[in-house]
C-alpha cells in the first residue's frame, strides 16, 4: 500500500510552482480580459519539459503518467497560467500510443518545438451509442467528425487549445460509427480553426471545422481514443485541485484578518463551516486525482470511472471554492480589481467544457451500473 506522492512527484510539483511563480499570471489574466495580450508561457513549459510529459522516452519525452500531468495542471490552475496543456498533453499521449507514430514529429512535440491539440469526442455509453461532440450552443450534442476515404469532415466546438496548435489529433468515426483517430495539419487545406474567447481570457478555445481535410489515420490499440477523453477530464480535475487550494488559502488568510463585531470572521461558525467545506471537497478531489492517476497506469478498466469521478469532484470543489472566495471577501470580492472573479470565471467556463460535470456524473453512474450488471 502506497497511496502518496513520490519524492520525484513532489519535486516536480515544487519545480512547477517555482517556474510559474516568476510570472505575473493572475494580473495578466485580468489584463487579457481588458483586451491585453495573454503572455506566451509556452517557453516556461518547454524549459520545464512539460510538452513531453506523457511522451515516452524513446520518443524524446519524459515518459511520465497522468498523475504527473495532473500535478503540473494543478500548478497552472493555481495561478491561472494560460499554458495549452489541456490540448497538448492528451494529443501527445494519444500519438505516443500509435503504432505508426512519426518519431521525428514526436521528438518535436516532446520538446515543444511544435504544438498539438486534441479534438475530443465523447465515447458512447449505455444510452448514447454514438461518439458525439460539443455543440456550438445548447444541450444537443453533435456527431463526431467522420473519416472516410482518408478525408475528414465535420465540426467540433469549444476545443481546448486549438488556436495556435500546429497539429490536431482528432477523435473521429468511420462510416460505420466506429472510432478512428486522425492526425491533421492544423494549417492544411479543409481545416478551419476559429479562435473563440468566452468569459475567461486564459482559456484558449476554438470552433474547429473539417471539410474533406487530408489526414494521417493513427493505428491505435483499442480503447486509446476513449482513454484520451478521460485523460482530458483528468487534466481539468488537476487544474481544479490547484485552484481550490489557492481559493482556500486566500479565503482562510482573509478570514483571520478581517474583523467584525470585535472578532475575526473566521471564528464564526457560519464562515468556518463553509471554509471547511472547501477543504472537504478539495481533499475528496485530491484522493480521486490520485485514484485516476493510479488507475490509468495500473487498472485501465477502472480509468473511465476514476477519471469521471475526479472530474465531478473537481467541479464540485471549483464551484464552492470560487464562490466562497468571493463571499468571504464581501463586496470587494465581487469587484473587477479583485482576483476572486478571475478564479470564478475559470470555474464557470471549465465546468462546461468536455461534456460538463453532469455528463461525468452520469458516466460514473453508468460505469457503476455496468459493473453491477456484470457481477449479477
Amino acid at each position: 500500500m502506497n497511496f502518496a506522492l513520490s519524492d520525484e512527484q513532489v519535486f516536480l510539483q515544487e519545480a512547477a510552482r517555482g517556474a510559474l511563480g516568476r510570472v505575473k499570471t493572475v494580473e495578466a489574466a485580468r489584463e487579457a480580459l481588458e483586451g491585453g495580450d495573454v503572455p506566451d508561457l509556452w517557453p516556461v513549459a518547454r524549459e520545464a519539459g512539460w510538452p513531453g510529459l506523457l511522451v515516452s522516452e524513446e520518443h524524446g519525452g519524459a515518459g511520465l503518467g497522468a498523475i504527473e500531468a495532473m500535478l503540473v495542471a494543478a500548478e497552472c490552475g493555481r495561478v491561472l497560467a494560460a499554458i495549452p496543456l489541456l490540448g497538448h498533453v492528451p494529443a501527445t499521449g494519444l500519438l505516443d500510443a500509435a503504432a505508426n507514430a512519426d518519431g521525428d514529429l514526436m521528438r518535436r512535440l516532446a520538446e515543444g518545438e511544435e504544438r498539438a491539440a486534441f479534438v475530443p469526442a465523447r465515447p458512447p455509453d449505455d444510452l448514447e451509442a454514438n461518439w458525439t461532440v460539443a455543440p456550438r450552443r445548447g444541450a444537443r450534442r453533435g456527431p463526431a467528425p467522420r473519416l472516410q476515404d482518408g478525408k475528414l469532415t465535420g465540426e467540433s466546438h469549444w476545443v481546448p487549445d486549438a488556436p495556435g496548435a500546429d497539429h490536431l489529433v482528432v477523435a473521429a468515426v468511420d462510416a460505420g460509427g466506429a472510432p478512428r483517430a486522425a492526425l491533421v495539419d492544423a494549417g492544411g487545406a479543409g481545416v478551419s480553426v476559429e479562435p473563440v474567447m468566452r468569459y475567461d481570457a486564459t482559456r484558449s478555445l476554438a470552433h474547429v471545422r473539417f471539410e474533406g481535410a487530408g489526414v494521417t489515420e493513427l493505428d491505435l490499440p483499442e480503447g486509446t481514443l476513449a482513454a484520451t477523453w478521460y485523460l482530458a477530464q483528468c487534466l481539468l480535475a488537476g487544474e481544479a485541485l490547484g485552484i481550490a487550494e489557492e481559493c482556500l488559502e486566500r479565503s482562510v488568510t482573509y478570514a483571520k484578518e478581517r474583523f467584525t463585531f470585535g472578532r475575526a470572521i473566521g471564528s464564526y461558525q457560519a464562515v468556518k463551516h463553509s471554509l471547511v467545506e472547501i477543504l472537504r471537497r478539495m481533499e475528496n478531489l485530491r484522493s480521486l486525482v490520485y485514484y485516476a492517476g493510479w488507475a490509468r497506469g495500473f487498472s485501465p478498466e477502472e480509468f473511465p470511472l476514476a477519471a469521471s469521478s475526479a472530474r465531478v469532484a473537481a467541479d464540485q470543489a471549483l464551484d464552492h471554492a470560487t464562490r466562497e472566495l468571493i463571499s468571504v471577501h464581501g463586496g470587494i470580492g465581487a469587484t473587477w480589481e479583485h482576483d476572486a472573479p478571475l478564479y470564478f470565471r475559470r470555474s464557470q467556463l471549465s465546468r462546461r467544457l468536455l461534456g460538463g460535470s453532469g455528463d461525468s456524473a452520469e458516466r460514473v453512474a453508468a460505469e457503476l451500473m455496468a459493473g453491477a450488471r456484470a457481477a449479477a
Binding site: M1, F3, V276, N284, S360, G371
Partner: protein
C-alpha cells in the same frame, strides 16, 4: 502509487482467506435473510464467533503480543477486514473495546489492569462499553456531570450516561467522571473502569428511529468503585479520553468501507429498474453521491499510507465521517425515490434511511467536527468561549441562572 499487496501481505491475505473459507459456516448470520431473530441469541452467537477469531489470532491484530495481539500493522487489519467482507461474514462483536478502549488501557492503565482485562476483552469473554456521553454533554464532552467522590480508599459514583452501545451485556465500561468540580471543566475529570454488574447500575435500552435498541442509557446510583479503578491519574482523565478519541479516528481511517456504504452495492438496485437507470436525474444524483463514497475509499488509502509511515491520523479524519454520512443520506433519499414506499420495508435500505439521521450526530456532530477541522487544520480562530478558566461548579450555576432569565 501502488495499491497491490507486497509478497508478505499477499501471503497474509491468502492465510486469512483460507481460514475464513474453512470456518465461514461457524459465523453467525446477523443481518438479512436467515438472520438470528432473538437479540440475546444473536449476541451469544456473535461472542462465540469473536472467541473463535481470537483463538485463531485474528482479533487485536495491531495489539502487542504481550497482551495477546499479533503485533501486525494497520494494513494487515485492512486486509483482514477486506477478506471478512469478501467472505460475507461478520467481524468481531466488541469493536469498541478492542478498537478503542483496550488501546486506551494499554496507553494509560496499570500493568495490573492490562493483565486483568485485555485477554478477556480480546476473546469476548468480557464485552466492554464506552461511558463518556451524557444527556447534557455530547459535543461538549468536558461538561459531563457524572460525579465520583472518594469513599474510603475507593470511590462512589452517581450520574447518568447515554448512547451507550452494548451496555446491556457489557461486563465492564470505561467511564469518564468528574472528580473535582471546583476547577475548570477539563481539569477535574478522571477515567474509571466500572464493573457493569455493580450494585446501583441500571441499564435501559433506547429505541431508535429504526425501531431497534442499539443504544442504552445507564444510571449510576451511588455505585461503589474499588481502589485501583482509575485509569491514568486522578483529575487527569481528559488526556485519557483524548487517547480513546484518537483510536476512534484510527478505526474510522482503517475501515472506511466498514459501514458498508459502497456505491457498487447501490448500483445494482438502480440498474435493476430500467426506467430509473436511464433517467438523467437519477444517474446524476447517483453519480454525485457515488463520487463522495469513492473519494472516501481513496482518502482511506491516503490515511493508511500515512499511518504506515508512522503518522497518527489528525483531525482531518473527521471529514471522512461528514462525507460518509452526507453521501449515505443522499443514497437513502435516491433509493427511496427510485423504489418508492417499498424501500422502507427493504431490510437494507430501510435501515439506511432510518439510521443515518442519528449517525449524523454519533461520533461528533457534523457541526462540531467542522469546528474542530476549521480550528485545528485550517487554523481559524475559535469562537469566543464563555467557559475558559471558570471552575465547573461556578459555570453550572451561571448556566442555570442564564437559562432562567
Amino acid at each position: 502509487m501502488d495499491l497491490s499487496d507486497t509478497p508478505e501481505q499477499a501471503a497474509y491475505r491468502e492465510q486469512v482467506r483460507a481460514w475464513l473459507t474453512q470456518h465461514r459456516d461457524d459465523a453467525p448470520v446477523l443481518h438479512g435473510e436467515g438472520a438470528i431473530e432473538d437479540p440475546a441469541e444473536a449476541v451469544r452467537a456473535h461472542r462465540a464467533w469473536q472467541r473463535k477469531l481470537a483463538e485463531a489470532g485474528y482479533v487485536g491484530l495491531t495489539w502487542p503480543a504481550e497482551y495477546g495481539g499479533q503485533a501486525l500493522g494497520p494494513i494487515e487489519q485492512v486486509i483482514f477486514n477486506q477478506e471478512l467482507t469478501r467472505a460475507g461474514v461478520p467481524g468481531i462483536l466488541d469493536t469498541i473495546g478492542v478498537g478503542m478502549l483496550g488501546p486506551t488501557i494499554m496507553a494509560h492503565g496499570t500493568e495490573e489492569q492490562k493483565q486483568r482485562h485485555l485477554g478477556p476483552m480480546l476473546h469476548a469473554d468480557e464485552v466492554w462499553c464506552q461511558l463518556f456521553s451524557e444527556p447534557a454533554a455530547g459535543s461538549d464532552l468536558a461538561a459531563i456531570q457524572c460525579r465520583a467522590r472518594p469513599d474510603d480508599d475507593g470511590w462512589r459514583l452517581s450520574g447518568q450516561k447515554v448512547w451507550t452501545t452494548n451496555a446491556q451485556f457489557a461486563a465492564y465500561g470505561l467511564l469518564l467522571a468528574r472528580t473535582d468540580p471546583d476547577v475548570p471543566k477539563h481539569k477535574g475529570l478522571t477515567m474509571f473502569i466500572v464493573p457493569m454488574d455493580a450494585e446501583g447500575i441500571t441499564v435501559r435500552p433506547l429505541r431508535q428511529i429504526t425501531g431497534k435498541g442499539e443504544f442504552n442509557e445507564v444510571f449510576f446510583d451511588d455505585v461503589r468503585l474499588e481502589a485501583g479503578a482509575e485509569v491514568g491519574p486522578v483529575d487527569g482523565g481528559w488526556a485519557v479520553g483524548l487517547t480513546t478519541l484518537m483510536f476512534e479516528r484510527l478505526a474510522i481511517g482503517a475501515g472506511a468501507d466498514s459501514f458498508g456504504y459502497r456505491a457498487d452495492r447501490f448500483a445494482a438496485s438502480i440498474a435493476a429498474d430500467e426506467t430509473a437507470a436511464s433517467s438523467t436525474e437519477v444517474r446524476q444524483r447517483f453519480g454525485e453521491l457515488s463520487v463522495e463514497l469513492i473519494a472516501l475509499r481513496f482518502t482511506g488509502f491516503r490515511m493508511l499510507t500515512a499511518i504506515q509511515r508512522g503518522a497518527m491520523p489528525g483531525p482531518e479524519a473527521a471529514l471522512g465521517k461528514v462525507t460518509m454520512v452526507r453521501a449515505a443520506i443522499d443514497a437513502g433519499e435516491l433509493l427511496a425515490d427510485v423504489i418508492g414506499p417499498e424501500a422502507f420495508s427493504d431490510e437494507e435500505y430501510g435501515e439506511i434511511i432510518s439510521f443515518l439521521p442519528g449517525l449524523k450526530s454519533a461520533g461528533g456532530t457534523e457541526e462540531i467536527l467542522r469546528n474542530i477541522v476549521g480550528e485545528r487544520v485550517l487554523g481559524l480562530p475559535p469562537e469566543p468561549r464563555l467557559d475558559k478558566g471558570i471552575p465547573f461548579s461556578e459555570l453550572r450555576a451561571r448556566e442555570r441562572e442564564e437559562a432562567r432569565a
